[in-house]
């Protein structure tokens, strides 16, 4: 589903963020991406949803080479890749319902399909009672649920989560990762960058560890143990 082939990405002043990485993530996998800050985790994720372009190497998404993808095709790629962040990135002046509907709206979904799909998504993430709340009226966990509902609105093949539990308490973090697990079981491939030792160890899955832009460990069912 996601294949990196000799991928290198450097930023100005020759800061190498991703250094000749080979990585293969199969359809339906759930992968934790761990490692210290500045190891290149976020850059690797950004390469998947084409927020960044590789300097060298090739990247395949669902069998398609996106290394030289036409700019006009990037939106279509993004509809196949849902993304959630540590800071949720919800629109503060729109309700939960509107935040999700907005996403569907801007990828040209019909009003009727939106009216059907949004309640379905709210049900899925357990926010059916919060539809008319604004983000600042929600707890952090609820905001992240809303962001998740938005990320899966276009039924993407891949979910990218960049430190999704970074702003949440341990209990809420576990809920969010369980929800990601539910979405994974429904068929989406999930890649989650995290610092959350407790979550990784409590719900063990494939762990890819990065340091200085390189993959230093890849365990099929590992623990979060780069620190020691």
């Amino acid at each position: 589903m996601i294949k990196f082939h000799g991928v290198t990405k450097a930023f100005q002043h020759d800061v190498v963020a991703i250094d000749n990485i080979d990585l293969h993530i199969r359809k339906g996998e759930f992968v934790y991406l761990v490692g210290p800050s500045g190891a290149g985790k976020s850059t690797l994720l950004k390469l998947i949803y084409r927020e960044e372009r590789p300097d060298q190497g090739q990247i395949f998404i669902d069998g398609e080479d996106i290394t030289y993808i036409h700019p006009a095709d990037i939106p279509l790629l993004r509809r196949d890749v849902g993304v959630v962040f540590q800071d949720f990135k919800l629109l503060p002046d729109r309700t939960v319902y509107e935040n999700i509907a907005f996403t569907l709206r801007v990828i040209d979904t019909t009003p009727r399909a939106i009216a059907n799909r949004v309640p379905e998504l709210l049900q899925l993430v357990g926010l059916q009672d919060r539809a008319n709340h604004f983000p600042n009226q929600l707890s952090g966990g609820e905001q992240q649920r809303c962001a998740l509902a938005r990320a899966i609105a276009s039924t993407p093949l891949i979910i990218i989560a960049d430190e999704p539990t970074g702003n949440l308490d341990p209990e809420t973090s576990m809920e969010i990762v369980r929800l990601l697990g539910d979405i994974n079981r429904m068929g989406a491939t999930v890649v989650m960058a995290t610092h959350d030792k407790a979550v990784v160890n409590a719900l063990p899955r494939r762990v890819v560890e990065m340091r200085s832009g390189q993959v230093t460990r890849d365990d099929a069912s590992g623990r979060y143990e780069y620190a020691g």
Binding site: P75, L76, R78, F102, D108, P111, R150
Partner: protein
């Protein structure tokens, strides 16, 4: 594109204008003022055209005859002239009569004509009025080909000068439009830049979830177009009602002053103003988006 999508994008554009209240108002005022000045030049030029047309209606074609044409030739020519349907009247002015008129014109400066009593340099001529001023050009060239005709004169210098003046006014209108147009473009561009800034979160999310670039751009372009069209509509309204008022006032207090009637010219003016407003808005927002909306 679906109707619901067009509705959504238009709604977003109106929302942008509302949220961006002050800058939107400033943009509209700028468009309005710029186009008002443009329109004033055009109205002046139009009125000058009207005056020129009026003078041309009254103007006579003067046909000067060759000195060696005898009375028989003059009679023949007069018959030919009277047979032409485009000619309303042809009045013969002998060289003596011409000299007499000249003498009256210069009555107080008799010295100018001193010495011309014995050798009158003026030729015989016909003063001709055409039935339709539109045909004046054709009649004039027809006259030139007639036997015994030396010279045909029908456009006075005054008209030529007025025509040039009208030309300058039109150039002035375009010049004003060019200068003020650039200022207006910048103001609209800046407004759109502020909207883009205010909506950067929305834009970021739109990009993230896979909205096409066209979809992201539309509300901003539409916002610029709306600002341009609203501004031009207000300037047109101002010109329209201002001109109606002026027509009324002039008819009452300066009835001898020729002012062009509003229609059908006013429709052309509406088209020109609103079209220009549309273009300025679309261009201003597009230029701004190119710089500030990296999609």
């Amino acid at each position: 594109m679906r109707v619901s999508t067009i509705g959504f994008l238009t709604g977003e554009a109106f929302q942008n204008i509302r949220k961006n209240g002050l800058m939107s108002v400033i943009s509209v005022i700028t468009v309005t003022l710029a186009l008002l000045i443009f329109a004033l030049f055009l109205v002046l030029a139009y009125n000058l055209d009207f005056v020129i047309g009026g003078i041309e209606d009254q103007v006579e074609i003067r046909v000067y005859l060759k000195g060696d044409l005898d009375q028989q030739g003059i009679d023949a020519l007069e018959a030919t002239l009277n047979a032409n349907r485009d000619i309303a009247s042809a009045q013969f002015v002998s060289r003596k009569e011409a000299m007499e008129m000249l003498r009256q014109q210069f009555a107080d400066k008799a010295g100018v004509l001193a010495g011309l009593e014995d050798m009158n340099p003026l030729p015989d001529s016909f003063a001709i009025r055409v039935t339709d001023p539109e045909t004046a050009d054709g009649v004039a060239s027809w006259l030139e080909g007639l036997y015994g005709v030396d010279e045909v004169v029908y456009k006075s210098d005054v008209i030529d000068k007025l025509v040039v003046l009208a030309q300058y006014l039109r150039m002035g209108a375009l010049g004003a439009l060019a200068i003020l147009g650039v200022a207006t473009l910048l103001i609209i561009g800046n407004t759109i830049r502020l909207t883009v800034h205010a909506r950067r979160r929305e834009v970021e999310i739109m990009k993230l979830v896979g909205a096409t670039n066209a979809f992201i751009r539309w509300p901003f372009v539409l916002e610029g177009i709306l600002l341009g069209v609203i501004g031009s509509a207000i300037s047109f309204g101002g010109i329209y009602f201002g001109y109606q008022w002026l027509l009324g006032a002039v008819a009452r207090y300066l009835p001898f002053m020729p002012l062009a009637p509003a229609s059908p010219y006013i429709l052309h003016l509406a088209g020109a103003l609103i079209g220009t407003g549309f273009l300025i808005g679309a261009l201003g927002s597009s230029l701004s988006l190119r710089r500030y909306l990296r999609v």
